[in-house]
Symmetry: C3
Subunit: 268 residues, 3 copies
């Protein structure tokens, strides 16, 4: 039985919006364990939410329900969705906020939630997090069967996820997230680097972000001196540009969108 | 049995004050489910907290205990209160922070908490959230009987809640809250608009905020173009001035206190 | 059985790092009750975290597990620790973040966590909060025996904790924390003042912060007029300089490091 619901929204911490969603869920299922992922998504930043979700969901137990409410189209015609992958559930608006999930699970089942008797009876047009998504997540935790919520669809919205490009021994990607420490997280997955390195028996690759060379890939922040820029595969599973005990965004004056280049040398 | 406690404070997220209150409660009742409403109330902003509480408590299951600690008079003579409405409990200082609740439930029972054996034995004069309110909330969740905490009183503090004024086919109110999206929330309840519209068989009313006309009431943010100002009844249940995918506070350069006017036309 | 884990980190609220740690813990022990102390520790501010922890842990039930992840040395040679005092557990990196705990419990048992089968199998070098500390805390909550995690050590890192100095009837200390209200919290414990006052049958001592006299110690914020500076023993258990309904940091233009002087007069 699913008992954990995670929450990711752009609601911030200043209003009781998130707390109200929790009240609605607990009224349906008092046994729920609700975990906040983050509520500080930039307003309406759908791609950023999709990326952050893709770095977090896999650390939760099987059949956790991930509820994502970044929903600028609330009250319009965008559909509410219930998605099942191998062993996780997702409830979200059909605006592309699950794009990374769709890429990773091409066989996932996506349903358009139409069974409105699961919604709050007083449903309005401005806060579907409370009126639609929260009650559906809580009912799903009790029913464990997403097919009760509506028909499967295949024309759900995917937004283009910028992908790293490999050309010979070089990979080009970009910064897609900056975390609270000022670490610049790229869209280049650690596995991609590992495979290429092994394939060519290379030493660790060299890394450049825009015009700035940051040396060979290291293993830990402390592998460079304090205040020095470095590149490593971080906890998100992606290549990251950081400054040891410093703030890379500020130190390098770079932000989301900056171009990252990695190149290998042929080993012997 | 009450198992849910909600928390609303002005303690912010930078100090462990809120966590400590939770520790105190869990020591009394390890089965509690504690839900944060918000801890970002402007320091000592009692009326704002009272309003936000009035938009949130009703989404929780019956006999939830709502703990509100916005308490500039801590350590002085203001009384701690336990309040029961039809089906919810409130624990708060007697400074008016429950004024909206008193207005909505004229028959609620208000008690002065005097049974100090429920307090922490080490009670001081500066942090009654921890020493008085949290343990009382947790004991109430176990005892389910607020009469054990002290005598009923009738001279509790109410602060004036600015009310919308109706004159014929016109309603005048004001902005009383700005949320994280910059939406301007007024004190005009959606029901008031609905009734008047039905009574006069009117088309949707027109709305003005200060000198700025924002057109007829719409149903959803997307009913106006991106960047356009609009008025709707929002998730708080109140008339709200918003900008589709934008920040109304910034775009209109308005804030709490701005005057809102709504007028209906006689239908046929 | 331990069922409560508290969390203190410098991870902020903008990333899902904290949520991911909770997912990892719930996968090990679905019965856990996880309480956030704060995630807004200044990046890498080890001494500040140690102080805040020392004002909070004692309000939790016996055998709560306190998980502290302020870890600038992650991925280097610093050791992960499991610490037991009389009735509380602590899991933290060996960088001094438990220094206040060591001072208060000289007999505590400190173990170097080496049993890596409790770690996540995919452990990396950049996010031991997720890969090492969270799973160890969750396993400790199930096993209730810290000796399973590794050998006792005695050469753990202590950082110098600035101590107040007593000379005759005078105590000198310093501001070590500023809270969300702008209250200036010093390192002078309330008990120290109480003992000296009793010993000399003194009236309440006088207090100075840098060159600014703030009068005799009072009992509550409201004992001075609105906007007036004052000194009291606050909820943290320490001497605090505050401004009634105001922000002392801003009003007095003082911050962490400011010198605080308290002096008693001989009673009769």
């Amino acid at each position: 039985v699913s008992r954990i619901v995670t929450l990711m929204t752009d609601f911030g911490a200043g209003d009781p919006y998130v707390g109200v969603m929790k009240g609605v869920m607990l009224a349906v299922n008092p046994e729920l364990h609700i975990v906040d992922l983050t509520h500080a998504i930039d307003s309406y930043h759908i791609l950023g939410a999709s990326f952050l979700l893709s770095t977090a969901y896999q650390y939760f137990p099987s059949f956790t329900i991930h509820l994502v409410v970044v929903d600028p189209g609330v009250g319009g015609t965008r559909r509410p969705l219930a998605v099942v992958t191998e062993d996780q559930y997702f409830i979200a608006p059909d605006n592309g906020v699950l794009s990374h999930i769709y890429l990773r699970y091409p066989d996932c089942v996506v349903r358009h939630i139409t069974e409105s008797h699961y919604f709050l009876p007083t449903r309005g047009n401005t806060f579907h997090g409370r009126d639609v998504f929260a009650p559906c997540a809580a009912w799903l935790s009790r029913l464990n069967d997403s097919s009760l919520f509506g028909e499967e669809i295949t024309d759900y919205v995917r937004i283009p996820v910028p992908q790293p490009v490999q050309q010979g021994l070089q990979i080009t990607g970009q910064i897609i997230h900056v975390d609270r420490f000022g670490n610049l997280v790229s869209n280049i997955p650690g596995e991609m680097l590992g495979e290429l390195q092994q394939q060519h028996a290379s030493p660790p690759p060299k890394v450049r972000v825009e015009e700035r060379e940051v040396g060979a890939l290291v293993n830990a922040y402390g592998d460079r001196g304090e205040g020095q820029a470095l590149a490593l595969v971080s906890g998100t599973g992606h290549l990251e540009i950081a400054v040891n005990r410093g703030d890379a965004r500020r130190a390098l004056a770079l932000d989301v969108g900056a171009k990252v280049t990695v190149w290998f040398e042929e080993g012997k």
